[in-house]
Amino acid sequence: MKLRKIALLIVVTLCALLLAGCGSDKPADEPAVTDVPAVTEETAMPEATTVPAQTGKVVNVYNWEDYIDPAVITLFEQEYGIKVNYMCFTTVEDMIVQVEANPGAFDVCFPSDYIIERMIAGNMLREINFENVPNAAQTIPYLQNPAYDPENKYSVPYMWGTVGILYNKTMIPDPVQSWSILWDTQYQKQVFMLDSIRDSMGVTLKYLGYDLNTTNVPELMAAKEKLIEQKKSGVVKAYQVDETKDKMVAGEAALAVMWSGDAMYAIDLNENLDYFVPAEGSNVWVDGAVIPATAKNPENAELFINFLCRPEIARMNCEYICYSTPNQGAIDLMGEEYTANHVQNPDQAVLDKCQFFHDISPDFLPVYEAMWMEVKNTK
């Protein structure tokens, strides 16, 4: 009896191993030692061992988590008969690592502005054939030929927004429209900061009146001291990214540094919240659609991007995600509802004071990183 049980166990195991082996269509066991000769000539490595070969009627999309209306994917699949493999990332750093580690796995990605700049510099992107993306002409003038892609060759803006302050009107009825409010000691344990190097440093640099992308050491030192002072004074409740908006909805704190789209999401759920971009100016950012140089289905990728730029589709996404749309057609469709919204559609006067991020060179980035670590380490 017992022997039978064990025999069964072994059979099941073998089946499972076989299944796992078949599922991956190549030998997965003991990869470490058998590949010895192949390594000296990297080019000789068979393609199949690096990428899930998804060619033909598919497009592999790699986007931020929850950053598209799911209905859009269905509509695209129905209209073109192309299967969309939709994958998600949570940070751009993650995305860039994955794109490098899995060449050919992605046809469309949605990095932020300064990452696009970095990818262009690293020859990681493919030029988009704009003849196949006529709808890109819908892009609002403000975002045409942006600083991160000056000749507008590699990217099509997908969503954009500002960084500002989300506040609770019941706790602070009439806030000073300045970053200085984040240093005001009367708001003890009432401030959520972003747990992100560039954003938190950027906010402080803007508060001090410096350039958002400065590599001037004395200026950066001043910003670091300011952040340490803020932490020591006890106004900061937490440094976080993802959790903030839900917490602001729940009324956990009075003030939070936040991206405009997240702010819009929170305001929709709690009418006591409001958002402003401080008078000193801020960061304006864009997430753009790009095609990695290694993409296997660039034509399908262009079809997909063109589809996203269709006014009705851009509108669907805009209403689902709550961020600002770069698509003039979509703006026209939404009309007053969109243009009167100061969060989604900031005044040109506000935008004039805002800057894009530029990629900090890898030689200088350690300075930013070390400073941020020091801030985080302050007790």
């Binding site: 976080q240 917490k247 009324g251 956990e252 200088f364």
Partner: protein
């Protein structure tokens, strides 16, 4: 992240030699015993562990001692001591570029060392609390008069079936300013208290997650104990405290040792919990390692930090082993 993901040829050669040596050892054992000795049952596992544990650790070592171009260097360890090591180089270079002397901005960064000390302290507190909470619980469950003992032990493992991330997030909804505990306090007419975003909350999360690991081994050790010993002690005039202190405790030391190991080690490297319950106000060594690998993409320094961490854990383990020379506490069953 380095773009060329390849090892030098000698690394592959060494791995090949290792494999041949392993096969030879298996062969020799078969010949010497004229057949399949039982110890050979361990060979598939040995091979598995060599490929999936030893080789990866060697890879980490390789990274820790090389720079971004693959050349040998000790800079990554200097980076541990002085977290501003790379930044200072950039600052000086920037100063030269603008023709100014920036040496006034050069300081030693203590972030890594501070974080390590803080993590060790937190792990120590967590272990002590788990021991204080878990020992009595294990003692009660191991009591022969407690008929439900074995069932209760299972009750300790069940919470682990709920996803770790979700469990931690659930604590957040309890501890928040607008969370359940505060709502309850306010309903009773008390002032709300800030329970979250501090080290205490992180500690609570750690104790919560690691307590079962303390209870199991102690329970095992206690239930294996010969109960007649404590009866004898009672017959010889010990009161129940004396029996506990003089007989039961010393006999459960193997369980305590393995409990301490199983709680201490994961505590030092906790990540995620400080971020969720501590609101990112404090960093633990696990967060630091993660930041090096994922946010900064500096795999070399990340590997060096990992190596230091492992070394430290091995040292503390060997000290602990002194208390339990037979290694009997290894059992969790």
């Amino acid at each position: 992240m380095r773009s060329d993901m390849s090892l030098p040829w000698w690394a592959w050669a060494a791995m090949g030699v290792g494999l041949v040596a392993f096969a030879a050892m298996v062969g020799v054992t078969i010949r010497r015993n004229r057949g399949i000795h039982r110890s050979l049952f361990a060979s598939p596992y040995t091979l598995w562990m060599i490929i999936f544990t030893v080789v990866p650790v060697i890879l980490i070592g390789y990274y820790a001692f090389t720079d971004a171009n693959g050349a040998f260097t000790l800079d990554n360890f200097k980076n541990f001591w002085d977290s501003n090591f790379n930044a200072n180089k950039s600052i000086l270079a920037a100063g030269e570029a603008v023709g100014q002397d920036y040496s006034a901005y050069i300081t030693r960064g203590t972030v890594n060392v501070d974080t390590l000390v803080y993590s060790l302290w937190m792990a120590f507190l967590c272990t002590v609390i788990c021991l204080l909470l878990g020992y009595p619980a294990a003692l009660i469950m191991a009591d022969r008069k407690m008929k439900l003992g074995p069932t209760l032990v299972v009750l300790f493992i069940i919470p682990m079936w709920m996803n770790f991330l979700l469990r931690t997030i659930a604590w957040m909804s309890l501890l928040e300013d607008s969370g359940l505990i505060n709502t309850f306090l306010k309903w009773l007419g008390f002032e709300g208290v800030q329970l979250m975003y501090n080290s205490e909350a992180v500690l609570l999360g750690m104790v919560y997650n690691f307590l079962p690991f303390m209870v199991f081994p102690i329970y095992t050790a206690l239930s294996k104990m010969d109960f007649r010993l404590s009866e004898a002690a009672a017959d010889l005039g010990c009161n129940s405290w004396q029996t506990l202190y003089k007989v039961t405790m010393p006999l459960s030391i193997p369980g305590i040792v393995s409990g301490i190991t199983m709680v201490f080690m994961p505590s030092v490297t906790t990540f995620f919990i400080p971020r969720v319950l501590g609101g990112g106000n404090t960093m633990m060594f696990g967060d630091l390692i993660e930041a090096k690998f994922l946010t900064e993409g500096n795999w070399n320094v990340g590997s060096a930090l990992s190596l230091i961490m492992m070394l430290l854990i091995l040292v503390s383990l060997s000290i602990l082993r002194k208390a339990d020379p037979n290694g009997e506490g290894g059992g969790i069953a």
